[in-house]
Amino acid sequence: MEQEVILSVKDLNVKFSLRGRVLHAIRDISLELFKGESLAIVGESGSGKTVLTKNFIGLLDKNGWVDSGEILYGGMNLAGFTTEKEWAQIRGKEIAMVMQDPMTSLNPLKTIGWQIEEALRQHQGLAGSAAKKRAVEILTDVGIPEPERRYKQYPHEFSGGMRQRVVIAIAMACNPKILICDEPTTALDVTIQAQILDLIHDLQKKYRLTTIYITHDLGVVANVADRIAVMYAGDIVEVGTCNEVFYSPQHPYTWALLSSLPQLGVKGEELYSIKGTPPNLFNRIRGDAFAPRNPQALRVDFLHRPPYFEVSPTHKARTWLLDPRAPKVEPPEHIKNIRNLRDEKKEDAQR
C-alpha cells in the first residue's frame, strides 16, 4: 500500500547545553510519518521520545538546539524555523499536542470555554457567538456531557479524565493534521485510560488525523498503534508495524523491552528487568548504544554503530544481528508467547 508521507525527519541531531557540557539527545534520527496513521514511540525515560516530538512544534527547551538534519512538513523545513512567527503557522494549527498531566495543563483561572476559544481566536479568527458555538461543538465531540453548562465552568470543576478530554478538545480546536499525544494516559486512572485512548482513536478516524503516541506503556501501544518506533539513547533502534515489532522483534533492546512486560512473567519468578543503566549522552557513544547492557552483544557492537537492516519494506532495525555474517542469536523464548497474550486480550475486549 502506497502511503502519503506527511512529515519526515532526516538525520536529525539535537543537542542540549547543560552546565557547560553538551548532551547529544537525538542522534541521527530519520523517520517518516504517514498520513492518517498512528505511530507509537516507545522507550524508557530519557530515551528522547519527548525531545524528538517537541522539535515538531518548536517547543524545545531554551538550552537545546537542532544541530543538523531536517524535519520536512508541507514543503517547509521545521528544523530551520527560528522565529515565533514561523512557528505560529504550525503550532496548534497544523500540529497540536496533548500533554501528560491534565491536572496542570489547564489554566485554573479561565473557563474551559475561554481556553478553547483562545485557540479558535488565534487561528481561525472566530469570536463571540461563532466561537462559542464552535467550542460547544468541540466539547460535544470529545464526549463531554452537557457542553453548554460545562463551557462556563472552570478546570477545578472537572475530574482528571474530563480535563484530559478538555485538553484534547483544545488540541482539536483548530483541526490539526497531526496530533502528538505525550503520554496522554499516564496520569489517569486505569479505568479512564481506555476511554481516553478510545476517544483519541475515534477522533483520528473521524478527522483523518495522524497521531503520534509517546509512551512507555506497551499495553497502550498494542491497542492503538499502527506502527511502533522503539527508541533507545536518542536513537530509533527498531521501527515496524505493530505486528512486526511485537511478533518478530529484531533488536536486542526490543527483546529486553518486551521481556519486561509484567504479563509475560511466570508466577513465582522475579519479573524481568533490563540490567544496567542507559548510556550517558554527555559522552560520545561508540557502536551500538545498547551493547553494554546486552549479554549477547557481539564484539562489533562495541566498535561500530550498526546501520539499519531491512527486515521487510515496513520493518527495519539497527542491529548487527541482521548482518548476514552475524551468528544466529535467537530472541528469548518467552517473548514468543506474546501472540497468545495479545489474542487473549482481544478476546477479553470482544467479550
Binding site: A96, T104, L106, N107, P108, K110, T111
Partner: protein
C-alpha cells in the same frame, strides 16, 4: 457574598473587642506612679487619690472597662491624659493620620506602579542582565539598613536640586523625597514577590500548553503568566494598608513630618492609656480590614475560591 462579608464583619468586631480589652487590662497593670508626673514622691496621699480619681483609676477595672466602652459607643475616644493633657484624642490623631496616610498612600501607589513591572520584567528576563540588576537592587534595599539609604537620599537629592530638606505641608515638592524613601522598601518587596510568582507561573504546564496551541508569547505573558501571578499579589497588597497610616518613625523624623510615626511607642512609654487604647483600636481595625479586603479581592480574581461555599460547609 453579602452574607460572608457580614459574618467577617462580626468576627472582626469580636477580634477588636478581644484586642482592645486585653490592651485595656494590661495597661491597668502599669505602676500607678507613672500617672502622677515627675514629683510624685512629694505628693500627699490625698493629692494622689484625687489625681487617680480624676482619671477614673480609683474604680475597679471592670467598671473602668464599662465606662470606656460606654464612651466608645457614643463615638468618644476620650481625652489624652499626658501626651496633650485633656485634649480630645480625635483632634490629636486625625491631622497626624491625614499627613501619614496621604504620604503613605502615594508611596504605596508608587511602589505598586514600579514594583510590579519591575518584578514582571525580571521574571521575563530570568537569568539575564535585567533580572540580575533587579536582584541586585532588591538585595541591596532589603539587606542594607534603611537608615543608610534614607540619609543618602536626603543628603544627595537635596543638594543643588532645589528640593527642601524638610517636609512642608504646603509645598508638595518637599513630599517627593519622603515618598520615595517610604516606597523603596516596598518596591523591592513587591518586585521580589512578583518575580517569584511569575517565575512559578511560567513553569506551569498550562503555559506550555498555551505555547503548544500557538498563542503568541506576548499574549501568553499577559493572559496566563501575569494574570495568574497577580492573584497572590492581590492578597498581599491590602494588608500593607496598615503601614501607610502607621507612618514610618524614621522617615517622618528625618524630614520632621508631623505624622503618626512612633506615636504609639511614645504614648505607651508615657502611660497615656486613653491614647494607647485609641491607637490600638484604630491600628487593629485597619489591619483586620486590610486582611479582609485581601481575602475578598482574592475571591474576586480567583474562581477557585468561593467564599460562600466555604461558609456553607462549616
Amino acid at each position: 457574598m453579602l452574607k460572608y462579608i457580614l459574618q467577617r464583619f462580626l468576627r472582626a468586631l469580636l477580634s477588636l473587642f478581644i484586642i482592645v480589652t486585653t490592651i485595656f487590662c494590661l495597661l491597668r497593670l502599669m505602676p500607678i506612679e507613672g500617672y502622677l508626673g515627675p514629683n510624685w514622691e512629694k505628693m500627699s496621699k490625698e493629692v494622689i487619690a484625687a489625681k487617680l480619681a480624676a482619671k477614673g483609676l480609683d474604680k475597679p477595672v471592670p467598671a473602668q472597662l464599662f465606662d470606656f466602652y460606654k464612651a466608645l459607643f457614643n463615638g468618644d475616644l476620650g481625652k489624652s491624659w499626658i501626651y496633650r493633657e485633656n485634649y480630645p484624642i480625635t483632634k490629636i490623631i486625625m491631622p497626624k493620620m491625614a499627613v501619614s496616610a496621604r504620604l503613605g498612600a502615594m508611596a504605596m501607589a508608587l511602589s505598586l506602579l514600579l514594583g510590579i513591572p519591575l518584578g514582571a520584567s525580571m521574571a521575563r528576563s530570568k537569568g539575564k542582565w535585567p533580572d540580575r540588576m533587579g536582584t541586585a537592587f532588591v538585595v541591596l534595599i532589603q539587606a542594607a539598613p534603611s537608615a543608610i539609604y534614607f540619609l543618602f537620599i536626603q543628603m544627595y537629592a537635596t543638594s543643588g536640586t532645589g528640593i527642601p530638606m524638610l517636609y512642608n505641608a504646603r509645598a508638595p515638592i518637599s513630599w517627593i523625597l519622603p515618598i520615595i524613601s517610604l516606597a523603596l522598601p516596598s518596591i523591592a518587596s513587591y518586585g521580589m514577590w512578583m518575580r517569584r510568582y511569575m517565575v512559578d507561573a511560567i513553569n506551569q504546564d498550562y503555559v506550555k500548553l498555551a505555547r503548544a496551541k500557538g498563542i503568541p508569547e506576548r499574549s501568553i505573558m499577559m493572559r496566563h503568566v501575569f494574570r495568574n501571578a497577580f492573584v497572590p499579589m492581590v492578597q498581599l497588597v491590602p494588608s500593607s494598608l496598615l503601614y501607610t497610616i502607621m507612618g514610618s518613625l524614621y522617615v517622618e523624623s528625618i524630614y520632621s513630618i508631623p505624622g503618626m510615626g512612633g506615636l504609639l511607642i511614645d504614648v505607651i512609654q508615657r502611660q497615656d492609656n486613653t491614647m494607647v487604647q485609641a491607637l490600638v483600636l484604630i491600628f487593629s481595625g485597619v489591619g483586620i480590614l486590610g486582611l479582609f479586603l485581601g481575602d475578598v479581592m482574592m475571591a474576586l480574581v480567583d474562581p477557585r475560591i468561593n467564599l460562600q461555599r466555604k461558609e456553607e460547609s462549616r
